[in-house]
Amino acid sequence: MLPFAPDTLVIAALIIPLIGALLIPLFHTAPNARESVTLATAAALAFTVWSLLPHILAGGRPEAVDLAVVPGLDIAFKVEPLGLLFALVAATLWLVTSIYSIGYMRGNNEPRQTSFYVCFAVALWATMGIAFAKNLFTLFIFYEVLTLSTYPLVAHKANAVAIRAGRIYLLILIGTSMILLLPAIAWTWVLAGTLDFTPGGILGGKASPLMLGVLLALFAFGIGKAALMPLHFWLPAAMVAPTPVSALLHAVAVVKAGVFTILKVVVYTFGIETLAYSGAGSWLVYVAGFTLIAASLVALRKDNLKARLAYSTVSQLSYVILAAAILTPISAVGAAMHIAAHAVSKITLFFAAGAIYTAAHKTEISELAGIGRRMPWTMGAFAIGAISMIGLPPTAGFLGKWFILSGAMQTGQWLPVAVIVASTLLNAAYFLPIVYTAFFEREPVAHSAGAAAAHHDHGEAPLPIVVALTITAAATVGLFLFPDVALTLAKLMAGV
């Protein structure tokens, strides 16, 4: 067996990113050493989290720390399958993103790189806290830490647009969590007398269907990171951040923390059966379905590549919420799978967008004609990510959708089925033209010196960037071919 006890590993996972955050500023003047610290921290974290896997698969549920802040509010951690899956995805992709960041931040001469890496490490620390939280209170603390630590990353460029985006980011995320999520947690405490995540839920028989419905609404909208419409607009605004931030945080850690929390609340706080029996969750299908379609329609009209990806994320997040709202164990499996699948695919797409920006300084889709020939690796990876977004085999995106659809069909819920089919078509409609433009359209011929400068001769982005996006693209296919780990964890979570 492994040399470390599982609870030591849990504590290690919660300490390693913090140590990194403290060490990085010491190497402020030596960028190479500083980036080595980031890489070493990310590698150590990924190793630690992967080391937990055998314990969880063997049925262990390691716990660590139990600190009563005031009676009823405990800071405590307990690793369960869904949390581990989320932590695995985040920690592994942090390592890849760290490689990518080096190429991106240096390639674009970004200012204040030290504070950038520090905030990144703190954000990952918060993500681990969310993934391993034993109760709602602990999750809530790290949820807020995640918002606060990513705010400086959103406002990183420090121009008027970035500062405005930062304001929206803070106001929406802190606002919803304070006004809706906090009362929801307090109310849960009053109803159930505990905040612990418990298989089967803690609210069964504790509240009327109407109260459950209202409480679910407080949770669903209070968790602003899940970007349910109409509280989604912080996410497109946050795209002003440097691309590694958009890639890891606003396609993986932050937004997944949102849907992860919703899934966790539905499965472990309400209990799937409690919600399904009371019918209190049926409205969520409509809101999630609406967000899914509406965000896709908006994405269709965006010419800015990152903006289109952002709306695609809003739409894809609602797959997870929709899957949770279908309220069958098999669709919950689909939700968990989609968290992992969307993470690897969307990060690939963002990596590609950042590679294009670094190599060609282009941000609009209409400028991308013929770029596939200059940057074959980048656009090849982009194509794989796009196929996964649409949900076609042999990519990871297919798996999540498959389970969500089977869950909906089993219980005869035809509305979610229709929504998913429609959104698949929409996804194809806004992703395939990009791939087509990149590979099959001709690059416009330069007529003047100015235009020639605009289309300056460029090849692929710096090597770290290409390496990173190749890894994630391979993972997108790999997750389809070898879904065992993710699938087992998802099934353990849903109890099927």
Binding site: L67, V69, V70, L73, I75, F137, F140, I141, E144, V145, L148, P152, A155, A158, A162, I163, G166, R167, L170, L171, I174, G175, M178, I179, L182, P183, A186, W187, V190
Partner: protein, 497 residues
């Protein structure tokens, strides 16, 4: 040794009082500072000893000059005022190392010794109000602390400090007058000036003279509300805090209003509440709307303020609103929230004002628009500002969250969920004004005044960091804050008729 232990209650006031008198004979500023720091440092030792005695053996009754109450003056220490004594003396002691540089920078050499004299007198007054069990004695200490704080404020560099001090003098005198009228009415109907004695006789007196008893409460309430800056009686506070010397602002913000709130708690719960039905006093009826107005209106005023000290001053008015809201809720959780926020807010606001003082010390300005990039040139100072600011917002994991949690639970227990909603909604406004300061400090280009600034000397920096870290520490380990506060609330509720 045991003779000394028996005299602790007296020493709590006598030591700083004598210290103040001796300090007046010192010429040199640095020497006066050292003396004041030494005297201040004895007060938390005594206060902790008293808290320990109360914790283990219950209420202490100390007869000043050996005259038994109700004829003589009694110092009566229970958990509530032992807690406030610890708070006031401890925060002052933490702040003292900071004072030397800051006072030397802001106040002329020949006046520094006077400043420390007035500071020690003010500390004496605040400790005296807290420790005494005698209504008139409290008035005397109230005047000592008020008169000395007028002088402290008037010593600010800006000439507007004189106007601010004068404004506070007028309002404060009205407040003191109202208080003494209230005490007079109580004396007329009960024939006593001792709080416990009044409480014992008030029930009977209320039967005979219902109107003077209630009028007495009204006078006491308005008088104390002026001192604690209850909205809308707060108008003196923003100017006083904005123009006072930095150290005086931090000291007064952390202690003076807290002591006034203590006095309100004492009179509402230990005097009137013991004798009469609490609901019939209609304190909650008055406090609910005023507290909620304070939470929202004062916070919004803070948002529109470009002078950082005034911004935090308005924020103080808002935060006092949370404390009085807890008093209005008047159940176990609500009162715990009020008392724990008394404690937490002293740490938070003390830390914030000290950080601003350090910024003044290094840049000479306190206007937000002149402070672009200050977060980068004074990293530790501003990091402390951010941490204390997060606590002010009530981010989970900080002391401010604990306060708000108890207040929300108190409101829910009282069946007032709209109030719970207003508590969380108003704390968002703090996000706006603290967030704006953060934006300017980190994301604006470095301004001229800030360019050559750096973190202040360690003597100033360490108190700032201690208070900032304390406002996080007490969000995780709440034994000393919420633990004691909850027992205090239990005692106050348990004493009610």
């Amino acid at each position: 040794m045991s003779a000394l232990t028996a005299q602790l209650a007296g020493l709590q006031v006598v030591v700083p009082l004598l210290g103040a008198i001796l300090s007046a004979f010192i010429r040199r500023g640095t020497l006066a500072w050292a003396w004041a720091a030494l005297v201040t440092a004895t007060t938390p030792v005594i206060a902790f000893a008293l808290l320990f005695q109360v914790w283990t053996r219950g209420t202490i009754s100390y007869h000043l000059g050996g005259w038994p109450p109700p004829i003589g003056i009694e110092y009566r220490i229970d958990l509530l005022n032992a807690f406030v004594l610890v708070l006031v003396s401890l925060v002052s002691t933490i702040m003292m190392p900071y004072a030397r540089r800051s006072v030397a920078y802001e106040i002329d050499g020949d006046k520094q010794a006077w400043f420390y004299t007035m500071y020690l007198l003010c500390l004496t007054g605040l400790l005296g109000i807290t420790i005494t069990g005698d209504a008139f004695n409290a008035f005397v200490f109230l005047e000592i602390s008020s008169l000395s704080s007028y002088v402290l404020i008037a010593m600010g560099r800006d000439r507007r400090a004189l106007v601010a001090s004068y404004q506070y003098l007028i309002v404060g005198t009205i407040g003191a007058t109202f208080y003494v009228i209230g005490v007079g009415l109580l004396y007329l109907v009960t024939g006593s000036l001792n709080f416990a004695d009044i409480a014992a006789r008030l029930g009977e007196a209320a039967g005979a003279y219902p109107r003077p008893v209630l009028a007495g409460l009204a006078f006491l309430f308005v008088g104390i509300s002026l001192k604690l800056a209850l909205f809308p009686l707060h108008v003196w506070l923003p100017n006083a805090y904005a123009y006072a010397p930095s150290f005086a602002t931090a000291f007064l913000a952390a202690t003076a209003t807290k002591v006034a709130i203590y006095l309100l708690l004492r009179i509402a719960f230990s005097v009137y509440g013991v004798a009469l039905d609490f609901g019939s006093l209609h304190l909650s009826t008055v406090l609910y709307p005023l507290s909620i107005a304070a939470m929202f209106i004062a916070s919004l005023l803070a948002v529109y303020e470009r002078n950082l000290k005034r911004m935090l001053a308005y924020s103080s008015v808002a935060q006092i609103g949370y404390i009085t809201l807890g008093i209005a809720i008047a159940n176990q959780a609500g009162l715990t929230g009020a008392v724990v926020h008394l404690f937490n807010h002293a740490l938070i606001k003390g830390g914030l004002f000290l950080a601003l003082g350090a910024i003044v010390y290094r840049t000479g300005t306190i206007k937000l628009d002149d402070l672009g990039g200050v977060g980068r040139t004074m990293p530790l100072t501003f990091a402390a500002f951010v941490i204390a600011g997060l606590s002010l917002m009530g981010v989970p994991g900080t002391a401010g969250f604990i306060s708000k949690y108890y207040l929300v639970v108190g409101a829910l227990d009282a069946g007032k969920w709209p109030v719970a909603f207003l508590i969380v909604a108003s704390s968002l406004i703090a996000l706006v004004y603290i967030g704006r300061a953060i934006e300017v400090a980190y994301f604006r280009p470095v301004a001229e005044a800030v360019a050559h600034a750096k973190d202040p000397p360690l003597m100033m920096l360490v108190p700032i960091l201690i208070l900032a870290l304390a406002s996080v520490y007490f969000g995780i380990d709440t034994e000393l804050s919420a633990g004691v506060a909850s027992r205090v609330a239990e005692a106050l509720i348990g004493g009610l008729k």
